[in-house]
C-alpha cells in the first residue's frame, strides 16, 4: 500500500529514541571507553615526542593526530581501526534485532512509516557516533593544550575540524553497511559476522590483493623495473582497485588533511616535481581539493549503501 503524507513522519521520535537507547547501552559505553583510553594514551605519547622536537613547525598541533611511538601506533591508526568497529557494533542488529524481538510490527502499527523508521535508525546511530567522535576530538585538543601549552592556529583547528567531519562520514559508510546487512540477514550474528568479515577484507586483505591483481592485469614493464621505477599503468590500476575500499579512501583523506605538505595522492611524474618547493604547506582549500574525490566517494558510498538497504527494507515482510 502506498503511504500517504510525509515519509518522515515520526522520524524525530525514532531518532531520539535510538539515540537514547545507544547512549545508555553497555555496548556503547564499552566501545567508548576503549576509544577514550586509546586517545589519552596516544596523545600523551605524542606529546612526549613533540616536546623533544625543537624545530619550529607551523602545524605542531596536527602532530598529535599523526605522531606515533613504538609500540603504540598513532591516533589516526586507532581511529581508522575502531571507528568501523564502533559503527558495526551499533548497527549490526538494528533491524533484525527488532524483528527477532517481535517489536518491528508493533512499531510499524504506530503512525510511523517504514521510511521514518530506517532513517531514524540510521540518523540516531550516526548522531551517537558523532557525539562520541566530537567528544573524542575535544578530548584530544584539550589534552594537547594541556600537555604542550601552545594554542593551535586557526588553520590547524580548521584542518582538525574537517578531519572530524570526514571521520563522521567514514563512520557513516560502515553504519550504512551494517544497517544493510541487518536488513538482509534475519540473524543478528550472521549480520555481524558478514559486516565484520567485509570490514576485515577491506582493511587487511584488499590492499594486498589490489597490488597482486594489478600486477596480473597490467604486468610491470621490465624497462621500468630496470630503472627501479614502478610501471605507471600498474600503479594507476592498483590505486584504482585499492580505492574501492573505504579504509584506503579515509587514509588518503587523513594524509592530505593532517599533513599540509601533501601535494597529490596519486602517482607523480618527476617532471611534475621540477621547480616545486618541497615542504611548503598547501592552503586548507587546496588540501581539501586534493582529497575531494575521496571525500565524495565516502559520502556517495554512504548514500548508495543506505538506498540499497532502504529498498530492501521497503520490500521486506516485516510481520513475524
Amino acid at each position: 500500500m502506498q503511504r500517504e503524507g510525509s515519509a518522515f513522519n515520526g522520524l524525530g521520535v525514532v531518532m531520539l529514541k535510538e539515540l537514547a537507547d545507544h547512549l545508555t547501552s553497555i555496548r556503547f559505553i564499552i566501545l567508548e571507553l576503549i576509544v577514550m583510553l586509546i586517545a589519552v594514551g596516544t596523545v600523551y605519547v605524542a606529546s612526549q615526542q613533540i616536546k623533544d622536537t625543537v624545530a619550529e613547525d607551523p602545524f605542531l598541533f596536527l602532530k598529535f593526530f599523526t605522531t606515533s611511538q613504538e609500540p603504540l601506533p598513532s591516533f589516526i591508526f586507532w581511529l581508522s581501526l575502531l571507528v568501523p568497529v564502533m559503527s558495526i557494533g551499533l548497527a549490526f542488529d538494528s533491524v533484525n534485532g527488532e524483528y527477532n524481538r517481535r517489536t518491528l510490527s508493533r512499531i510499524l502499527s504506530q503512525p510511523i512509516y517504514r521510511d521514518a523508521l530506517l532513517f531514524g535508525k540510521f540518523l540516531g546511530a550516526l548522531m551517537t557516533l558523532a557525539i562520541a567522535l566530537v567528544v573524542l576530538w575535544l578530548l584530544v585538543m584539550g589534552l594537547g593544550l594541556l600537555f604542550i601549552g601552545i594554542p593551535p592556529g586557526g588553520e590547524e583547528v580548521a584542518r582538525a575540524f574537517v578531519f572530524l567531519l570526514v571521520t563522521i562520514v567514514y563512520a557513516g559508510v560502515w553504519l550504512a553497511l551494517a544497517l544493510l546487512f541487518s536488513i538482509v540477514f534475519r540473524s543478528a550474528a550472521t549480520a555481524a559476522l558478514a559486516t565484520l568479515g567485509l570490514w576485515l577484507f577491506f582493511y587487511v586483505i584488499w590492499p594486498v590483493l589490489a597490488g597482486e591483481l594489478s600486477q596480473i592485469i597490467v604486468p610491470p614493464d621490465p624497462r621500468y623495473a630496470a630503472l627501479g621505477l614502478q610501471t605507471p599503468g600498474t600503479v594507476v590500476l592498483e590505486q584504482f582497485l585499492a580505492r574501492l575500499s573505504p579504509s584506503t579512501l579515509f587514509g588518503e583523506i587523513v594524509v592530505a588533511l593532517l599533513d599540509p605538505t601533501t601535494r597529490a595522492l596519486g602517482p607523480i611524474y618527476l617532471s611534475q616535481l621540477q621547480g616545486a618547493v618541497l615542504g611548503a604547506p598547501l592552503p586548507l582549500g587546496a588540501s581539501v581539493l586534493i582529497a575531494w574525490p575521496q571525500i565524495v566517494g565516502l559520502v556517495a558510498a554512504t548514500i548508495i549503501l543506505f538506498v540499497i538497504g532502504y529498498v530492501a527494507f521497503q520490500r521486506q515482510e516485516v510481520r513475524a
Partner: protein, 388 residues
C-alpha cells in the same frame, strides 16, 4: 803543484797591473807636479769645501815637499788634509801619486766674489805652485720637475687607476720631496714606491737624479661616468711642481630585479596565465641598453614578458614589465620556483619568484554533482518504494 802555478800567474798579473799604472803618464814627462782636477770651484759662504789635490812624481827621486797656501782671505781657514788628518808636507815616491785635500772653511759673512789662492809645495828644486780660484756664490735654487708616463687613464668606477710619476731633482743638492695629490671628493689617492706596496709621503732624491713613484687613485663605486682631473703635486723647500692627470670613468650598468613593492610571490591556477609585475632597476653608473628578459620555470610552464625587452634604462631609473606565467595543465598544487633573469650585455640580475599553483575546482563541482545524484537516487527510492 797546480795551485802553485795559479798563484804564480796571479802574482805576475798583479805586478803587471802595478807597472801599467805607473806607465800611465807619457814617457817624456818627468819630474814632480802639483795638480788638481778642478782648480776653480764655487762654494757657498758658511760651508766647508774641499779641493782635491795631487802630487805626482814621474820618474824622479823621492823628495820631501813642504806645503803652504797663500792668498787666503782673513777669516777663512785653509788646511791640508791627507790620510784623514792635517798635514804639512808630502813625499811622493818615484812614479807614484799622493792625494791630498785642501779644506777651506768659509765664514758665513764672506762677501761674494772670487778669491785667488796659491798652493805652494816647496822642496829641493823649484817650488811647485798651483793657483786655485774660489768663487763665493749664493745657493743654486732648488728645482723640481714631475712627469707622468701615462697621464690619461680610463676604467670603470670599480677599477683603480695607477699613474707612474717621474720626479726629477734639478737642483744642486739632495732634496726630500713631499708628495700630494688633489682629486675629486671621495676619491682615494695614495703614493707608493715604484715597485712595492709601501705607501710613501715623501721621497729623498739626490741632486740631478730622478725617481719614479706610483700614484694610485681609487674612485668611489658610485662615481658617475665622466672624466675627472687629478693634480699630483710634489714639493720640497720652496719649490714645487705639478702634473695634471686625467681619469675617464666609463660607468657600468648594474641591474636589480624584484617584484612590484618587493613582492616576489604570486598565485596561479594550473593551465591558466597569471601576470606578475617585475621591476628592473639600474643601480649602476651607466645606462643599461637592450635589457632582455628570460624566465626559467619548471618543465611545461610558459614564461613570457610584455614587453619582451627594454631598450634603455638610465642609471637610478627603473622600468616595469609584466611577466606572464602559465603553469602546465598537469601541475599539482603547491609552491614552485620560477627564476626571472634580466640581462644587458654581460650584466644580469635574477630573482626567484614563488608561484603558488592552485588546481581547478571543476572536479570539486563534479564531486558535488555525484553526491547530488546519489541523493536524487535516494529521493527516487523513497518516492518509489515508500509504503506503510
Amino acid at each position: 803543484m797546480r795551485y802553485g802555478f795559479i798563484a804564480a800567474i796571479a802574482a805576475v798579473a798583479v805586478a803587471f797591473a802595478t807597472a801599467a799604472n805607473a806607465q800611465d803618464a807619457p814617457k817624456d814627462v818627468k819630474g814632480l807636479y802639483l795638480t788638481s782636477d778642478y782648480p776653480a770651484v764655487t762654494v757657498r759662504p758658511g760651508e766647508t769645501s774641499t779641493v782635491s789635490l795631487q802630487l805626482r812624481n814621474y820618474d824622479v827621486a823621492p823628495e820631501r815637499l813642504v806645503l803652504s797656501v797663500s792668498g787666503v782671505p782673513t777669516g777663512w781657514t785653509a788646511t791640508f788634509m791627507g790620510g784623514g788628518q792635517p798635514i804639512g808636507a808630502v813625499m811622493p815616491a818615484s812614479d807614484s801619486n799622493v792625494s791630498l785635500e785642501l779644506r777651506l772653511d768659509v765664514p758665513k759673512n764672506a762677501p761674494n766674489g772670487t778669491e785667488h789662492l796659491m798652493v805652494t809645495a816647496t822642496g829641493g828644486a823649484a817650488p811647485l805652485q798651483l793657483p786655485i780660484d774660489v768663487t763665493l756664490a749664493k745657493d743654486l735654487p732648488a728645482k723640481l720637475s714631475v712627469n707622468a708616463e701615462l697621464p690619461e687613464l680610463r676604467g670603470t668606477s670599480k677599477s683603480s687607476f695607477e699613474y707612474t710619476l717621474s720626479i726629477k731633482n734639478d737642483s744642486g743638492k739632495k732634496l726630500t720631496v713631499s708628495l700630494a695629490a688633489q682629486a675629486p671628493h671621495d676619491f682615494d689617492t695614495s703614493f707608493t714606491e715604484e715597485y712595492g706596496t709601501q705607501e710613501v709621503n715623501a721621497v729623498p732624491i739626490d741632486a740631478g737624479q730622478s725617481k719614479n713613484v706610483k700614484l694610485k687613485v681609487t674612485p668611489p663605486n658610485t662615481a658617475a661616468a665622466g672624466s675627472y682631473h687629478v693634480t699630483a703635486r710634489v714639493s720640497a723647500e720652496d719649490t714645487s711642481a705639478t702634473a695634471d692627470l686625467g681619469l675617464a670613468i666609463t660607468g657600468q650598468p648594474k641591474l636589480e630585479l624584484s617584484g612590484r613593492e618587493g613582492l616576489v610571490s604570486t598565485r596561479a591556477a594550473a593551465g591558466a596565465q597569471t601576470t606578475v609585475p617585475v621591476v628592473i632597476t639600474n643601480t649602476g653608473t651607466a645606462p643599461a641598453e637592450d635589457v632582455e628578459l628570460s624566465g626559467s620555470a619548471p618543465n611545461g610552464w610558459k614564461v613570457t614578458f610584455n614587453p619582451t625587452s627594454v631598450d634603455h634604462i638610465a642609471p637610478d631609473q627603473n622600468k616595469e614589465v609584466q611577466a606572464l606565467i602559465t603553469p602546465t595543465d598537469k601541475a599539482i598544487a603547491g609552491d614552485y620556483v620560477t627564476t626571472i633573469t634580466a640581462s644587458a650585455r654581460g650584466e644580469s640580475a635574477s630573482t626567484d619568484f614563488r608561484v603558488t599553483v592552485t588546481t581547478s575546482t571543476m572536479w570539486g563541482i563534479a564531486g558535488v554533482g555525484i553526491i547530488g545524484i546519489a541523493l536524487l537516487v535516494m529521493v527516487g527510492a523513497v518516492a518509489r518504494f515508500g509504503r506503510r
